[in-house]
Amino acid sequence: MKDSIRTLKENFFTGFVFVSGLITLGFLAAALGLVTFKGFRAVSPAFLFTAMREGGVSGGILYQIAGTVILALTTLSIVLPIAWGVALLRSVYIPNTALRQGLSFFLYTLNGIPSILFGIFGFFLFVKGLGWGKSWLTGGILLAMMILPAVAMNLSEGMDRIPKDYIENARALGLSRSQLIWSVLAPQSFSSFMSGLLLGLGRAAGETAPVIFTATVFAGAFIPKGITDNPVLSLPYHIFNLAQESYQPQALQNAWGSAFVLIAMVFFFNLAQLPFRLRFHEEAEAA
């Protein structure tokens, strides 16, 4: 093949690759830039700390933020024990057989379930079936189950990455399986756990579909006082509604401000997990 053609192909290839990267980063810059630019102007202490007025057109997003935080905390409390349980099951209690492979595959695929299905199932089971009406607890349960596969797999894979030395030595010293779990597996996989958990919570905080039928309303909710018939407001749902009234400039302004705050919250989670993720890279290299 002529060298000039080879060089041409090479250059096209390199060009394509760099251009793709630039375009992709460009999308990121555009998305973040637009939200920041538009949203920053709407954000003020009043905006953050006042309740909504006039159906979202004016006032602030205090209770939307509160509702999102409540949902996130509920999700956290529910997913924590279950993710540990599932992860321990996969890494410790189920031996290295087809069953374990099946469980891994199962968890990975569960991760792909569209979030709206959780919402509709939750509507059927909790809102109507159990008669709870809309409840923040339902939202927390559904969001927890949605992020469970990812959090559990992250943790379990973190445990699998622990150098076999640590485990063998502990076993040779006479540690029982549960002692091994608490003294070696848990501390050594902590960074994987935190990384997966924070990413999961970031995702849960930004989700709309699981909560629209089950946990959130657009207006009229504040801090829940009980479980049943106690919905909350949430930032994503707020934006979802305002986006449908975007012809109203004030509502649009509010939407940008809310989007900015929401992205800030989500990015807080995403960035908070970085030190954990980097740490387990370091541990792996040091070992």
């Binding site: 290839f13 709206i116 199932f121 509507f123 089971l125 029982s176």
Partner: protein, 312 residues
């Protein structure tokens, strides 16, 4: 100091071992999760029975969905879902591959990690924010740019496809990057040492081995695109019963449409609960969505597992 031997062995032999609290805890909580997902599956299968018995195959192939007369044909929604996902993939895959090749082949060390983390940030943006951006910016942009083609509105399947494309772009990129990084350095260096250009090395030494991983990335991205609800809801227009005339026409791209997810995200869900058949129809849509997504996700996941051994 040592545990006295006689104490040890006096209590044994005993085959019956009491499980530790940790084990009990793990099994119990795992059971909770298992029950939840089992119930979900049951809900989908059981709940869709009535409408499937009433409509039979027409549920999937019928082209009219009119709940007031209890007529439930999901074909237009299947079509909408497919079109949106295909547009998304066609848009996202080349860009994702290019970006992945960039980070896997051309960059290294800290800058690679930086670029990859930035692109993964894109994945962290909530879908409702993408929806908002789509409504405010993409919709009018599509409408104005494609004016010569007489779009019905900016709320169309093309807009939905593009916004979903941007959403799945980081996912496909990240998975592809992982797949490419899985190829050992020796494979690359052997090719380069033989005098191949970077481009040739990629196509002849890296790509064949990374192929399953890349296909897997596309399938998983496609699965995600099929399941995206909020952003699609906001820009797809949500007009029922739109099918292309003739079947290969691209007209629907510029017209409003309905996908499985946009229907399921809407107010009809609440209305449906009042009528058993209508409600069953909604569950039927859920089942359809579930099966469609799961096919792609499980094949994609399976390829990933298979691809891990393939590259060795």
């Amino acid at each position: 100091m040592a545990i006295s031997l006689s104490v040890d062995l006096e209590n044994f032999p005993r085959k019956k071992i009491r499980p530790s609290w940790t084990a009990v805890f793990s099994w119990v909580f795992s059971a909770l999760a298992f029950i939840f997902f089992l119930t979900l599956a049951g809900f989908l299968l059981q709940g869709s029975q009535p409408v499937l018995r009433k409509e039979g195959l027409d549920f999937f192939l019928g082209s009219i969905w009119h709940y007031r007369v209890l007529c439930f044909g999901a074909l237009p929604m299947l079509y909408g879902t497919t079109v949106v996902a295909v547009v998304a993939i066609l848009f996202a895959a080349p860009l994702a591959f290019g970006s992945a090749i960039l980070t896997a082949e051309y960059l290294s060390g800290k800058i690679r990690l930086l670029v990859k983390s930035l692109i993964e940030l894109l994945a962290g943006i909530p879908s409702v924010v993408y929806g908002l951006l789509g409504v405010i910016y993409l919709r009018p942009m599509i409408f104005n740019t494609l004016k010569p083609f007489h779009p019905e509105t900016g709320d169309n399947l093309l807009s939905a496809g593009l916004i979903v494309g941007i959403m799945i772009l980081p996912t496909i990129m990240s998975l592809s990057d992982d797949a490419l990084r899985g190829i050992s350095r020796e494979d690359r260096e052997t090719a380069l040492a033989l005098g191949l250009t970077r481009y040739e090395m990629f196509f002849h030494a890296v790509l064949p081995k990374a192929f399953p991983g890349l296909v897997s990335a596309v399938l998983l991205g496609f699965g995600r695109a099929l399941g995206e609800t909020i952003a699609v809801y906001l820009v797809a227009g949500r007009a029922d019963n739109r099918l292309p005339q003739p079947w290969y026409s691209l007209r629907p791209l510029l017209e409003s449409g309905q996908t499985l997810t946009s229907k399921l995200g809407g107010s009809e869900v609440g209305i449906a609960y009042g009528n058993p058949v209508h409600w069953s129809a909604m569950i039927g849509l859920c089942l359809l969505l579930f099966l469609t997504v799961m096919v792609f996700v499980s094949v994609g996941q399976g390829l990933k597992f298979f691809g891990r051994d393939y590259g060795r």
